[in-house]
Every structure is written in C-alpha cells, then in structure tokens.
Amino acid sequence: MRLEAQNVSFRYKAGPWILRNLSLSVMPGEIVGLTGPSGCGKTTLARLLAGFERPDAGKIALDGQPLPAAGYCPVQLISQHPEQAVNPRWQMHNTLCESYLPDKSLLEELGIKNEWLKRWPNELSAGELQRFCVARALGPQTRFLLADEMTTMLDAVTQAQIWQAVLRLAGERRIGILLTSHDSTLIKRISHRNIDLTSIF
C-alpha cells in the first residue's frame, strides 16, 4: 500500500497555480521530509494528500485507488494550528474519541492527563491540544500520517515527546509519514529521505 500524488496540479479557485504536475509517493513505514520556503505549497500538498482538497488535474491514490469518500480516512493530517483543528464546542474527550478509543498507554506516552479530558479547548495550551490531535490521528486504520509543522509551536521537550511516541507507533504498524518543517535538524534527525518542493516542479 503506497500513497501517491500523480501529476497533480492545484490552484485555489481562479488564483495562480500553487502546484503543477507534481508527483511523489510515500511507502509504508517510510518517513519523508518535505521542505521549501513559505508559500511554496507544502501545506496545500498535505491537504491534497489527506483529501481535504481535490486536485484540478492528476490524482491522489492510495494503493492505486482514490481515497475513500466516507468513513475513516487511512491518510490522516495533523495541522500546525491545533486550536483550529478541534471543535471548540466539544469537551476534549469527545474530540479524542471521535473515531476510535485510544488506549491508556498511548495517552500516557503523549503526556495527556486525565483531567484534561473534561476541559474545553480554550482551557488548554497549543501544546496540550496538539497532543490530542496526534492521539486522534493514530487510529488503528491509519496507514499514512501527514505532519504539517506538527511541533513548530512547541518547546523542545514536548516536541521530542510527541515525535518519539509517533515514531514508535509508526515503526510498529509500518505507518508512512510525510513531514514538513522549517527545522532542518528535525528533518535530518527523523526522515529517511527528503524532498525539496521547489526542485521537483
């Protein structure tokens, strides 16, 4: 099972082309770093691969098939802004358990405290919210994870804590990861190969 972008082109409405004729693939268990300057389309590419946007030309394929239109998507996106990725009118336990029941050991590994489950999103910091977003995205059906500046807003200790949990689980379940980051030391540390978005189209 591989995740592929095949000759994908995309623009927002009638705006300028953001991606043109772009192809890439990620294999199971592979960790790929995606770099490039601000505004070059990294986040757009991640949104396309996760099915949040549809390409104007070309296709996104999971094992040769289009992404499922309904149900749990095996390609999960974790965004840079967790406060925009959770329902402000849900207590955190609803957000956490929306698609599956994460086990206690994963919550512990991510440093999620029991008392946070009853909180509302505005009562938690960005770092605390991001831990929930990561747990939520790691359901048993997840095959690929798109980490879009997942830990940019976090301190180094929290960043290492979240990544170590994700890397352990991804290793066990052979989840493929595409990560974007401005931090070249992070990319160098964890990715198997690196794609510079400005050099491939």
């Binding site: 300057p37 601000s38 840079q80 512990e108 590994e109 440093g111 999620i112 405290k113 008392e115 910091s125 960005a126 770092g127 605390e128 831990r131 500046e149 940019t152 807003m153 976090l154 301190d155 180094a156 200790v157 929290t158 960043q159 290492a160 804590q161 990544w163 170590q164 401005h182 931090d183 070249s184 030391t185 992070l186 160098k188 540390r189 964890i190």
Partner: protein, 315 residues
C-alpha cells in the same frame, strides 16, 4: 552582544514576581490560576536576555506584567524596578511605548485601518517622525512605497519588519520581543534576529521571549529558562553546549538534550497546569533527581557559576 553587558547596573529588575488570575468556574464559584510564581529576572543595557520555555509557561504574561497591560482580574505581587526606581502602574503607563516598547507576537497587533508608515511615526516622540520612519524603512529594506500600504497588503516578512521598525523608531531603552519569529521561514527568522542584535548593539536592553531555543542561543547573551511560571535557571548562552553538563537545572538540561541535533530525548509527563500547582519544586514530578525535599519545599534561588538556579540538587 556587548562587552559591557555585565558591568552596567540592571535596567530592569524583577524580583519575587507573582501573577494570578481569578476566574469564574461555574456560577459564582471562583478559582485562581497561579500563572507566574516568585519569578526573578534582570536585564542590563546592551544585553539580550532570552526567555525560553514551553507554551503555557507564562512567558507572555511576564511581558504584559512588565508593561502593565494585564487584564483587570490579575493579581500582581512582588517588585519591579526600572532604571533604579520602582515600576508602579502609574510609571508603567508613562514609560510604555516611550521607554519600554513591545515587539508583539502577531501581525494582528498592527492597526488594520492605518497605513503602516503612520503607525511607525507614532512611536517617534518629537516632531520629525516622517524622516525617522523613512530612514528606518530604508535600513530594514522596506521599499519607499511601503509606508502607504495597509497591514493586509504586506507579506509575512514585511509585516515582521514593520513591527520591529515600530520599536526601533521609539526611543525605548528596553525592548520586549514576544515570540517575534513564530513559524517563519529561516531567512526571515535570521533577519529578525539580526535586527534584535542591532538594537542591543545600540545600547538597548532586549528581552527576547521565545520557545525556540536555537533562535535564543543564536542571539542572546543570557538565557532564562521558564517552567510552569517561574525561571528555573538563568545561564550564560555559552553554557548550552556538549551534553549540557554546564547547565544547573534538570529542566534546562532536558530542554537541551531534547533538541533534534542532540539526543532528541523527551521527559515523560507534562508541565503542571497553573490551576493546580503543588507545593515544592514544580518540576519534581518529572525529575529524575527528585527527593522528598523537592516535593515539600520550594527551592530558593541560588547563584552558581555565574548563573542562577532554583534546584535543591544543583551544584
């Protein structure tokens, strides 16, 4: 990085600062959040002090406390002095924007309905604002037409330069930069850091608040490490090296060792919430060195090897 940094008297001295907030939990039931507890910090002219810590550790609240712009439900205790005199609310209001300037975190702090040139001219205290604004825009490579633009017409990098320009145009001797580089491209981060260094080279004191320890090390003379609302350690930037053996506090060491270029090693658990702080050392529940003493008594601030630390076990 001024050589005179250590000889001058502190421009700003904060000692024993605590800030708490009263909130309504449900109905008329109130609860108190201890956002900053017993914090000490000082900064000298020509020096860059980086304040580094996790999100939710109270860094921005420190900035707001110094400027005197905390909301009405905040309770402040402890003392602050500026240029040798006590910093009272009245004095804060008089110094704010003149002697003490803020470089805010977000571009949303610019007035969306005012041309950016006009906003920068506001910072200049006397008559010749326009000439000064143009000179600063030239220095920051903002094209001549930029002064007539509105904030929404600027790119992220340009807006960042305008925010720094606002502080540079003011005669402020103390500049507080609150997360001026969040999620920006490395080139813009580098440029912003260079601007901070310029400001300090001109003799101003710069407090650089960030969660990015790499940016802090690149720029600052000293680093204050924040955890759960207090400074656990203040160290010369050069102490962050090797395995972190020159650092004094276990959390500072953990922060250093957690960097991707070092061990990428996390610490289990999470920072305690300001709503339920326990007595004793706030890092104790996550600390390998923790003993009974740590759980019962808050460590006093001690000076060790040219830095300060709050840890019973530091030597």
């Amino acid at each position: 990085m001024s050589a005179t940094a250590n000889t001058d008297k502190p421009l700003l001295e904060v000692s024993g600062l605590s800030v708490s907030f009263i909130q309504y939990a449900a109905g008329l039931r109130q609860r108190t959040f201890q956002a900053i507890s017993n914090l000490n910090a000082d900064i000298r002219p020509g020096e860059i002090l980086a304040v580094v810590g996790a999100s939710g550790s109270g860094k921005s609240i420190l900035a707001h406390a110094i400027l005197g712009i905390l909301p009405g439900n905040a309770l402040v205790s402890g003392s602050m002095s500026y240029a040798g005199q006590e910093l009272t609310p009245k004095r804060q209001a008089a110094l704010r924007g003149r002697e003490i300037a803020l470089i805010p975190q977000s571009v949303n702090f610019l007035d969306p309905l005012m041309r950016v040139g006009t906003q920068v001219r506001f910072s200049s205290p006397n008559g010749n604002g326009t000439a000064m604004q143009r000179e600063i825009f030239t220095r920051y490579q903002l094209a001549a037409g930029t002064e007539r633009l509105y904030p929404f017409q600027l790119s992220g990098g340009m807006a960042r330069r305008v925010l720094v320009a606002t502080a540079a145009a003011s005669p402020a001797r103390l500049i507080i930069a609150d997360e001026p580089t969040p999620g920006l491209h490395p080139a813009i981060v580098k440029e912003t850091l260079a601007h901070l260094r310029e400001l300090s080279a001109a003799g101003r004191a710069v407090m650089f608040i960030t969660h990015d320890i790499n940016a802090a090390l690149e720029t600052a003379d000293r680093i204050a490490v924040f955890y759960a609302g207090t400074t656990v350690e203040t160290a010369p930037a050069g102490d962050f090296c090797g395995e972190g053996e020159r650092l004094r506090h276990p959390y500072s060491k953990a922060l250093w060792q957690a960097l991707p270029q070092n061990d990428f090693r996390p610490v289990p658990g999470s920072q305690p919430s300001p709503a339920d702080l326990l007595p004793g050392c706030l890092f104790a529940p996550r600390c390998r060195l923790s003993t009974l003493e740590c759980a019962s008594a808050e460590p006093a601030l001690r000076s060790i090897r040219g830095g300060t630390v709050r840890c019973h076990h530091a030597a």
